[in-house]
Symmetry: C2
Subunit: 293 residues, 2 copies
Amino acid sequence: MIRWRLDIAYDGTDFSGWARQADRRTVQGDLELWIPRVLRLDSPITLTVAGRTDAGVHARGQVAHVDLPDETDASDLPRRLRRVLAEDLVVACASRAPLGFDARFSAIWRRYVYRLWDAVSQPDPLLRHQVVRVPDRLDLDVVNRSAEHLLGLRDFAPFCRPRAGATTVRTLLGLAAARVGPRGPIELEVRADAFCHSMVRSLAGAMVAVGSGRRDEVWLASVMTSRTRHSALTVMPPHGLTLEEVGYPPDEDLATRADQARSVRSLPAEQPLREPGPASVAKALPPRDEDQT
Amino acid sequence: MIRWRLDIAYDGTDFSGWARQADRRTVQGDLELWIPRVLRLDSPITLTVAGRTDAGVHARGQVAHVDLPDETDASDLPRRLRRVLAEDLVVACASRAPLGFDARFSAIWRRYVYRLWDAVSQPDPLLRHQVVRVPDRLDLDVVNRSAEHLLGLRDFAPFCRPRAGATTVRTLLGLAAARVGPRGPIELEVRADAFCHSMVRSLAGAMVAVGSGRRDEVWLASVMTSRTRHSALTVMPPHGLTLEEVGYPPDEDLATRADQARSVRSLPAEQPLREPGPASVAKALPPRDEDQT
């Protein structure tokens, strides 16, 4: 088998998210239906994805991989899929993956943008499926000052929908808001090694709360100490969120990175992140939570 | 009565164009229904618009005016309409119009952008309702060189759907194509004093024909000599077109400009553009063709 990397973009509006579901239209479902057909494969395929986006979340820079029989040339896949896929789903590029590449586990970061119109913004009806309107004016200086306190390796449990046996420890690499033009939308850029479920949209909700003045930094600090999902946090609507880009290390580090990411993350106090444990223990642990927003 | 200027944006996808029609959803129809309601007016209103966009054409910088009773304060109109209008239609601003202002006749230019993905572009599914895909690669140097030959005051009959008694003489002030980013869409910017029906979309069709190499500049020159609509010209789909901006002169020139624009345009050889004719003759002539794309 040969591994192929697919670069994918979609308008999430009419999809029930990335992950295949019976009787629902999903991105994975559409691709796993059509790729074997246009390549005339005898067997079904399974895609592995960098970011399992929720229903309504968009993507411009989604990455997936698929293992195909040696004799299959998939480089023409974008053109072939264009003929059969609906216009809200585009495979932009299909390329042979470098050795050790895993779309999910080799990724070193995911970059999402949450788009907002606040009271200062001039809403553009042409972008309404990608931007969420909030009634207040957001003070971006306050947002960006508050955001700095959230950076780094920490337990994002207060921001995450819990999943049995899955860790909520992540490294938040970037969180910053900027207005596009004097009356344009606000782009809240969020970058982390990976995300747990609802994390980006809860972070966006927290930033809206402090930026509008409805909450302050003391409140945010108290939220951060919660060991479980914090009930006062608003999970912002999915359609403001777009997966913009997935980062991978240089080719020679792909396999090493994938091995690291397969192990469960934890905070240094509990278990050092890179401490090698016995293989049997590592296997008994559930895999680290998938990136899911 | 006091005249108000309205700045309007809409996603044209679900509208049968600007102009009011019985039993069809139109921008004018929605606004003329809701403005009297939210302002609690006793009488119906009539909007006058700068650019009568066709079904499916979008607008970010549409301008209209409406005359309202002296005692009516419409400055809060954007907020009130937001509560009742669907999200694909936004009145961004309502302001008291300066003396002599007429949204249609005071305008000195309209700027449209036609957006295309060619073979080099990376289509973005989130923008598919505003961008049209063409199969070829477009040579923008060829497009821009050809475009220069079309500038100026001339009869655009080859590019226009005919309308009885209406002139097709217009001044094309700008026509230029640029690619947004290395793999982005192509923006074809078209600016004229006004447009006749299907003119922008036919100009876009001509530019695609020469840019793709399917036609050459000799062909374009021959098209230009046609006295009637040229059958070989493709009218591009409406959803690629957006009315971006309408230009008005300084306030003190508004009334003069409106008087000029109400008279019928013609080429210098037939009738000098600014020659003052007897008022009776001017009234007998049909008004100059409305801007309609």
